[in-house]
Structures are given as C-alpha cells and as structure tokens.
Amino acid sequence: MKKQAVGQSMDRVDGRLKVTGTARYFADHQPEGMLYAALVCSPVSSGRITAIDAAKALRAPGVADVVSHLNAPPVPGYKADNPNPKQGLKIFYDDRIYSNGQPVAIVVANTLERAVHAASLVKVTYAQEVHKTDMDENMGQAFQHKNMKDYLRGEADAWKKAPVHLEAEYNIPIEVHNPMELAGIIAHWETPDQLTVYAKTQGVKSVQQTLKTLFQLPESQITVHSRFVGGAFGMGLRIWPMEVATILAAKKIRKPVKLVITRKDMFTLVGYRPAARQRIGIGATTDGKLTGITHEAVANTSPYEDFTEAIVNMSRMMYACPNVNTRYQLVPLNLSTPVWMRGPGEATGAFALESAIDELAHQLKMDPLQLRILNHADTDPEKHLPYSSKYLKEAYEMGAAKIGWQQRSQTPGQLQENGWLVGYGMSSGVFSAGRGRATASATLKADGTLVIRSAAADIGPGTATAMVQIAADATGIDAKKIEFLLGESAYPEAPRQGGSSTVSTVGSAVNDVCRSLQQKLGEMASAGIPAFKGVKAENIQHEDGQLVAGNTRLDYAALLQLQQLPELTVTTTSQAGDERKHYAMYSFSVHFTKVHVHPATGVVRIKHIVSVADSGTVVNTKTARSQMIGGVVGGIGMALTEEALIDHRYGRYVNNNYADYHVPVNADTPPTDVLFINKKDPVINPMGAKGMGEIALIGFAAAVSNAVFNATGKRVRDLPITPDKLI
C-alpha cells in the first residue's frame, strides 16, 4: 500500500504558478476590447445627489461613457417587490447617499489612466443631510434584530451574586479585511443576455445566484470565473455594489469593462469588521467555579442592511457555567454594510470573554490556565450534547509546555528582560465545525490521470492541494496524477469558502465521488472483464489505483483501455447526516504569547507565540501551519495596530491606506510555534477534519492583552493596544 497522502506536508499543487507570476487573478484577465473603469464616490455621508455634470468627463480623450443613476440600465431584480426594506444598497437606483465613499458614477475609458482622470472631471453636487457615524453617540439607537434573540440559561445576571465577580466593557474598533488584492471585477456581456464575469469571490456559485436574481437571467447564461483569489478574509463572501455598477456599465457600453478599486475604497466598498461595544459580567465561587456570565454586545451596521454575527455565542458554551445570559444589538450608522471578517463575530466576542476570564483569575489569585481547566465544559452546556471530539485540555498542556508557562509570574510586572517588562498571556478560541453540501465530479482518463471538479474556492488555504491529498487516499492514485479544479461556476455546486468548512464540505464530496468512481469501475470490471467474471462489484477490492480480486489485479487505466473508453466521469453530492442532532461539533484553539512592553514608551513587542489547534485530522501539515500562522498575524494586527478611524465631522475614514492603517509587517511578527492535536474526529466527515481558518485568529487578541496585563498590571480593554494606552 502507498503511504497515506493525508497528513503529509505536500507542497501546494499551484505553488509553481504562484511563484512564477503565472497564477491569474481576476484583474490579470484581458478580454478582447476591454475598457477600464474608475469610480466617482460620494464625499458626503448622508443626503441626495442634486446634479451630475459629466460633460467635461465625456469630452476627455478615450472616454466611452459615464454611468450613474441618471442613465444606468435598470437592474430588474431591484424592481421586484421585496417586503424587507433593508435589502442592501441598490447601486445607481436613486439619488440617495447613505455613506461616505458610496459610488455615484462609474467612468469608462479605453485606458486606465484616462478613466481615472476623467473620473476627476465629473462634477457632482449634493444636498447634504446630517450623518451619524459615531458609535458612542448613537448607542441610544441600538435595536435588536429579529433573528438575534436574547439567550438565557439558568438565572439572568447571576454573576452579581457571586462572591468573586467583576463587570467590564471591551471595545473593538472597525477593522478592515484589506486583502493584498484590490477588489473589483471584469464584466463582459457576450450577448445582451449572456454575462461573463471574472470576480474576486469566495464562491463562484454564490455570485452566479446573486446575478441571476439581480438580472433575472437563467443560470446557464451567467459564467463566473475565479480561480485565483488574492486573499479575502470574508470580504469575498458576497457581491458588492461596485461590482454591479461595473456590470451595468458593461451592459450599457456593450464592451468588457474592468474595475479595480483603490486601496482607499477597500475601506468603504467591500465590508469590514463592525465596531463593537461589549459588556461582560462574570462571577465565580472563591475556589474558582463559574456561577454566572452575562455578555451584552452592540455592533454597528449600515442604514440599509442589518448585518449580524455570532459575537456573544462563545460565552454561552465555552465554559461549564450554570447561569448565562446574552444580548446582541445593532446600531445603524452612515457607513457601508459590514461583513464577516476572519474569526468573525466569535473573534470579537472572544476578546471580551477571554479577557474577562483573565481578569477573574487575577481577582481569584489563580493561574488563568487553571481557571480555564477548572471550568472546562465536558459536554456542550448550551446544546446539552456530547462533543464529537474535544482535546482542549491536551491543547492547554501542550501550549503551556511550549511557551514555558511556568516562568509566568502570577503577580503582574515582576519580570524584566533587557530593560523590557515581560508578560505571558493565554486565551482559548472555539468555532463551530461545519459541514455543508457539495457536489464533485471525477473524471478518470485512460492515461491513468484523475481530474476532480467542484465550484469551490481558494482564497489562500490551499484548497486544491488538500483535495488532491484526499482524492489520492480515496482512490490510491498517486497525488501527482490527480488534478483538482475549482473557481468556475460551470463546475458542480460547492458552497462559499467561509466558516472554516471547505475541507469538511468539499473534501467529503471529493472522498465520496472517489468512492462512487471505484464502485462504477468495479461494476464495469465485474460485467465486462473476463478475469473478474463472477466476482460481484462489491467484492472487488481497491488498492493503489487498481482493482483487486484474489490474485487478479487491474489498473484503473487498463480497465478504461480494455473498455475502449477515453474517460469515465461520475458525479456525487455529499452532505452531513443527522450527526448534529447527537453531537456538538467544534474546533478549539489555544493561544499563548510572551510579550515585551517597554516601560517608558509603551511599545509592545510579541516575542514568542504558541498556537495549538484541536481541529481533527490535519490534511496537510504544511498548509495547515501556514493557515495557523496567518491567523496569528491577523490577530497581532487586531491586538496591536488595526483601527479604521473616522473623522466624525465628515463621516470619513482618515487612515484609509496601508501607511496609516497598520497591518502587521514582517518585523512585527515573532517566531511562531504551531502545534496540532491532529486526532481524527470520528463523526464530522470521512476525513475526520474539523475547520481551522477561524480558530487560528479567535481569541488571539486576548492572549496579547492578557500578556500585556501580566507584564504591566495595566488592563487594556479597548483594542488596539497602542503605546499611548500603556504610558
């Protein structure tokens, strides 16, 4: 038998394309006759457009058109009756301005430079209205979304009666995904009712469905290409208004149009992690048993759409605690709509809960690691179900040993190295391990190669590489002979890449389609190959890409050749059964950090990071490690530097670029140890793999703030932990 492919640190199957510059992202395509677009965006944050003077722009060299609400082709989907008044921003629909940076016109020209220049010549006048962008000034507007009900287990606010308790507020600013690749789209109406787009998306099928609804075209007339995506972190989970604007311009001009937005516009057009104000009340007995947790959160949304996420959910189920109540509300502001950003709401919530646990441990004079172990949930306290697998205690132990947790001082501010204060911190993370529904096709060719197709995405984790490994084990065919193709709407249905579920969902479909293929080959051999005559298909074994019955062995490829078939294709749909009724399924992470804090300047330097993942089977140890260190780097930004700042006088971002909105650079990141539990989950899917993308980041910011407290005795409850908050 061949060595198992799953669990190996195989190089990425598309690595060569990525290191040679031949991987083609959406903007790298250039359909014949393509024109370039540039946006004109609103400098006011609320109001109406009173006039658009495009005459000067239209006279500029090479300009094809200026499209706005005054002359855009209609979007049939916008006219459909929708009982929900908050159905999102209808681009170029009317004269309303809801937020600063909202696109008001799109200029199309035959070169990029001409489009950009002409956009500066469009004169728009506005009737400005009063805008609201300040979260704190508008907390009175908070409302409860109908899908986000209060939660209560046991007694409400029981923490207040506990002998040891505390209440604190934790604030998170707006954070922006800011993937390296600028967003945009190439839109091409090949005929008046045949639309092709090159998109930056986490789900080609999802884009196809949205366009189907908006333009009321059959699926077969919408093609979405998105093979390579230059990072997304959630911003590619939906289609954005400026993409529709480009499609409208292309429709009007009848030529392919490319839009690549600016870095500045990445702050206003493609979502962000909403700002959140959270309050935690937590109480315990004097020996550290939790008796009550109250977690209330208020996050912002846009005026025209309610965005909700799972900010308070971790508090309901992370710890064994008899009394828990949560509340989650939204405040509409004159900003664009937020969207899930890596870790999503759980990362926001984990900062509050895991900071509060650390604060409680300090009050109890207890090691925060011991407090967590003492309140470990052996069964899911929210769903009252056993876990499909949970190795959190092992993860705590592994991480503590690796970082040298025993060197931590229980009293803050005790350790120093070279004049810097030293602190150790830790936190936990948890995220639902999901499995959705996906379809894959497998095409075995007479030369022995296997091509598997599914409309999955790869925003960076290495989807195709993992799928090839899963298929190699399922079929026994050498990984080098297997190709996995994704990112095309023409392929069999797959969900968006999000919520840490691609390996679980698409991997299961790949596994299952390989089994179907083997079954089909067995039937063919049983029916048509003399050597297998009389052997029932189900009794034929499969080993290393061969059919085996007793001493008879036949290569899959040879079977196809004997049957004179150039290729054989099978398609299989795969989804979870009713496991979720019987088990609670979660991935867990534990983060440990060692930080240095400069006593005079307040500068925080993370010196060492240990992150442990309990995510079931690790399909590829190399790419999984990359995913974990990537989440950690995102967490460093969340903890120390990232904050999108608005000048509320204008409702406008003031640091909307990479020089002022600080994402971590190489020198900001210390050596990181990633440890895997790497034990198969027996329930979730055939591979036993839970998700990893979110837990890599969830909780990390608290591990930093807890370490900063340990170093300095200063508790920072407002992210990011900038030096001014420590001096």
């Binding site: 040679t20 903007a27 790298d28 230059g230 190399k622």
Partner: protein
C-alpha cells in the same frame, strides 16, 4: 548606479534622452495651444480630444526580462501599469498603488523598486526584471523553489513582490539573520501572514549558498 549613455553607438537607431525631451516639448507646445484655444472652438471640435491623445504620448525604450521594447506611452503611466496593462506581464501585482505594500516590486538595473512609484517614461534605457523573468526557462530560481518548499505564501498575490524583494535582500547582503531578514523584508506586506515561512525560505537560500 550608472547613467545610461545619451548616445548608444551599438544601437544607432536608438533615440537619446535629449531627443525624447525635445519631442516632449514639441508635444507640450501643441497641448498648450490646444489648452489656450477658446472653449467654443474646443466644443466644436470634440473629436480633437481623441487626437490630443496621440500628442500625449512619449517614446521610451527599455528592456524587460531581456526583451527590448520601443514604446510610446503617456508620461503619467506608471511602470506597474505599463507592465500589467500594456505588456501583459501581469505577474507584478497592484496592492496599493502608493508604494506602501511592495506587491509591485520589480528590479530596475538590479535594484528592487516599487513599480507603482515610478513612471514608465523614467525607465529609458533601463533593464527591468519582473517575476516572469526570474526563472531560467523551466528551472526555477532558488528563491522561487524555496518559497514553494517553505510555503512562503497562501493566496499568492504578494508573492511575486516578496520573491523579487527576497532576491534583492540576499544580494544586498541583508539576509544575515532572521531578524535582519524581517527588517529588510518589511516593505512587502503579506496579509495572509506567511512571514515566518518567508523568513525560512530566504534563510534556506542564503544558507544553501546559492548564487542568486
């Protein structure tokens, strides 16, 4: 850095910088005349705007990945946009267009620069290397090999810039320690956070004693 000579004896047909500047001045005068024309006349001759496009271009000769190009480009075109939109060399990426992220890093006469921060017309006589020109045929450059082996990327978008920067970082003698590499690679942002692996890849090449 040595200046390109004004006259290139081995290439007599090649235009020197002064000649190019004279042409630019002539074109500028034409543009000036156009700008001074009364608005009504301009309005009457809207099509002249298209013609004006022709006057707005300048000749530039440069070499990209060993191939010589004689081009006519608008002075406002950045080297990055020239590579991507006119020469179809889309390996070089645009991440910010403001010199803040390094995704567009290329080598000009052997030095790493942000191609979004330099104009194409400034590259007269320069030798430019992009990610597409790094491998020798099918044989990858050692840094490219190391990035694959050490998984120095996830989405791959910043990778061409990281690799061009990494090659220069080693050549500059700035790859002596992980700390030094982190410092001298901090002009290249990787939002997927592959920094640890990028450092490992560069260290491996440096310690492997490869000629880069």
């Amino acid at each position: 850095m040595s200046q390109a000579p004004n006259e290139n004896p081995s290439c007599p047909g090649k235009r020197d910088k002064h000649e190019a500047r004279r042409d630019f001045l002539k074109q500028s005068s034409a543009l000036m005349a156009l700008a001074l024309t009364p608005p009504l006349v301009v309005k009457a001759g809207e099509h002249d705007e298209t013609i004006a496009g022709l006057f707005e271009k300048m000749p530039v000769s440069l070499e990209v990945n060993g191939k010589a190009y004689q081009l006519s480009v608008e002075p406002r075109v950045t080297l990055l946009d020239l590579l991507r939109e006119q020469l179809n060399l889309t390996g070089t990426k645009k991440g910010c267009d403001h010199g803040q992220c390094g995704a567009c890093t290329v080598h000009v006469n052997g030095q790493r620069i942000n191609s979004c921060l330099t104009l194409a017309v400034m590259q007269e006589g320069k030798k430019i290397t992009t990610i597409e020109g790094l491998a020798q045929g099918d044989t990858l450059h050692p840094v490219q090999e190391a990035f694959i082996k050490h998984d120095g990327f996830q989405c791959g978008y910043c990778t061409p810039g990281q690799i061009m920067s990494a090659v220069a970082c080693i050549r500059e003698g700035h790859a002596g320690s992980p700390e030094e590499i982190r410092e001298f690679m901090s002009g290249n942002i990787c939002r997927c956070g592959a920094y640890d692996n990028i450092v490992a890849a560069i260290t491996a090449v440096k310690q492997g004693g490869h000629t880069v």
